[in-house]
């Protein structure tokens, strides 16, 4: 109310005796009210937005703790009367989940490690060395960058099949042992390091590999971390590729396992399905909320290049 009073006093003092007095105070009051209303509407809008994104997850959690008949109550109830933790056990038991998780870990980690080993030398070479054919070779990298996995899965399947690599960890790792995106990013990062730094190191008689390992790589660490995040999440969440390249359970990963719950428990056992979904989603969500800034920065700023 203080603000309203001040708004009224001001015009009164400034225009003492003016016939516009009454209109000015009314206008000032209106402005205050409009301001408050706008703020409320804004807050409501924000809340609605958050709900649109949070409610599905909350509903997922809620469903995962219900009995099957409870899921069929309509209009739906949010809080189950007795949380059915057993659903999680059932979900877990629909398939060899430990096996799936192990596979996911082995494959995602191996891919990441191999990528680190391949992209660092390659991007360094492209960034700082002049060699015949480097333009052509780099264009191979760029073309690869443009080729999505959904385009080539069929011929790659045939390739892997010919080499008996289907249903193996190696078959799921090898095609991703390097990353065109990673080379692209890192090359840009290496290029931004000033020549003088390298010249100073060379004057210090440092061997080339030492220069790379001890000086250059630490300088591009943020980009490497960003890329690692990107790559790990992408391959951990990958459903399509492992689905196509496996015909049995040997090398299958977690996303496939979750999708298969439907086949095992039957279509419509939403409670167990959602429990399985929570198992899949929860770890990532937790990591996300802990390092939100970092993750968002990684994904967003690597897109706007």
């Amino acid at each position: 109310m203080k603000a309203a009073n001040r708004a009224i006093e001001g015009p009164i003092r400034a225009a003492a005796g003016s016939p516009m007095n009454g209109v000015r105070t009314k206008r000032a009051l209106l402005r205050i009210i409009m301001n408050v209303v706008l703020r409320l509407v804004n807050a409501a809008g924000l809340l609605l937005l958050v709900l649109i994104f949070a409610l599905p997850f909350i509903w997922m959690l809620s469903t995962s703790l219900k009995t099957l008949p409870e899921t069929m109550i309509f209009p739906p109830e949010w809080i189950p009367s007795h949380p059915v933790w057993k659903n999680y056990i059932d979900a877990w038991n629909t398939g060899p989940f430990l096996h799936y998780i192990t596979n996911s870990v082995i494959i995602s980690v191996s891919i990441l490690l191999l990528q680190m080993l391949t992209i660092i030398p390659a991007s360094y070479a492209f960034a700082r060395y002049k060699f015949a054919g480097s333009g052509f070779l780099f264009s191979i990298v760029m073309v690869t960058l443009m080729i999505p996995s959904q385009l080539i899965f069929l011929p790659v399947y045939l390739e892997l099949s010919a080499f008996k690599l289907l249903n193996t960890h190696l078959g799921l790792i090898l095609p991703f042992a390097s990353s065109a995106f990673g080379i692209f990013l890192l090359r840009q990062a290496f290029r931004q390091i000033s020549d003088e730094l390298i010249e100073a190191a060379r004057l210090d008689q440092a061997k080339e590999w030492k220069i790379i390992a001890r000086i250059m790589v630490p300088m591009v660490k943020p980009v490497l971390v960003t890329f690692a995040l990107f790559s790990f999440i992408a391959h951990w969440n990958d459903y399509f590729w492992p689905l196509v390249m496996t015909t049995n359970e040997t090398a299958r990963t977690l996303p496939i396992g979750i999708a298969k719950i439907r086949e095992v428990e039957g279509v419509g056992t939403w409670n167990i399905l959602m429990a399985g979904n929570v198992i899949l989603v929860a770890p990532i969500l937790v990591v996300f909320f802990l390092s939100q800034r970092q993750i968002i920065k990684a994904f967003v700023y690597n897109g706007v290049k």
Partner: protein, 290 residues
């Protein structure tokens, strides 16, 4: 320069180049090769049929529907995602930490696997007990069939795609908005520019590289949609949600018509290739004004 020095760079790039050639470049050519044959994967012989696969594909009404589905899906998804996220970015571009929380919330679907999202939304869109029908019921609407009816199935998939993608797009736009220096806004205010004029004459043009970037990668991504269809609709009902990649998958892995599927793959390659070229062309035309 010693021989070692000369050879070293090649050694450094070799592993990556080999991988790319083996698993990305060669497969493209192999696929183009296969599209000229009729093969069922099991038999040792491939029958050369020239461009017959393409002729069959393009005259097949099922494939035409697939192309149409994919195009409609792409256009809707891209338009809605890009448009809505631009509006959201203008709204949410504030430093206050509450806005940071909202930004985090809308971004969360981006890092969750598409499988999880597909399963979740299958449940949300359940015609009998799904949450979505309850929500629209609050506004006075009756229950919808969502994924179960050919007239609503594609739109339902678009909704899921927009829900997943809007967070990322919004944040990219916000980054773009923040790269506009503050003094431009100040100069505009001194030039008596009204908010709408500032938006259309200054902000939009300055954002245009970002807009193009997002439109193209959204388009390329939408053309390749697979997971949601595989999990939510399997192409149905009645082929209403059959899209290119799923079609290739079915014909390759279900019906074992490798040549035919490869031909469809070549068509996808052409489309994606054109879109990529357009993007690069636009990129080089758009002058960077930094």
């Amino acid at each position: 320069m010693t021989l070692w020095h000369k050879l070293r760079p090649y050694g450094m790039v070799a592993p990556s180049i080999i991988i790319f050639s083996l698993f990305f470049i060669y497969p493209i050519f192999y696929m183009m090769y296969l599209s000229l044959f009729d093969w069922n994967f099991i038999s040792p012989t491939k029958t050369f049929v020239g461009i017959q696969n393409f002729v069959d594909l393009l005259s097949e009404p099922e494939f035409r529907q697939v192309l149409s589905n994919t195009t409609v899906y792409t256009v809707l998804t891209v338009a809605l995602t890009t448009g809505l996220s631009l509006l959201l970015a203008l709204w949410l571009n504030r430093g206050h930490f509450l806005y940071g929380i909202v930004q985090g919330a809308i971004f969360s679907p981006h890092i969750i696997s598409l499988v999880s999202i597909s399963l979740l939304w299958s449940w949300l869109m359940d015609p009998e007990y799904g949450l979505l029908n309850w929500v629209i019921g609050l506004f006075g609407f009756g229950k919808l069939q969502w994924l179960s009816h050919p007239s609503t199935s594609l739109i339902s998939l678009v909704i899921v795609a927009v829900w997943k993608g809007i967070g990322y797009n919004t944040l990219v736009f916000i980054a773009g908005l923040q790269s506009i220096p503050a003094d431009i806004y100040e100069a505009a205010s001194l030039d008596r520019s009204k908010p709408w004029t500032t938006f259309t004459k200054l902000i939009l043009p300055m954002l245009s590289p970002t807009i193009f970037f997002l439109v193209i990668i959204n388009m390329i991504g939408s053309f390749q949609v697979f997971e949601t269809i595989a999990i939510m609709t399997q192409g149905g009902p009645v082929n209403s949600t059959n899209t290119l990649v799923y079609y290739i998958y079915e014909y390759g892995f279900r019906f074992f018509k490798i040549g035919y599927a490869s031909a469809a793959g070549v068509i996808l390659l052409v489309i994606v290739g054109i879109l990529t070229l357009v993007y690069f062309k636009l990129l080089s035309n758009r002058v960077h004004y930094r």
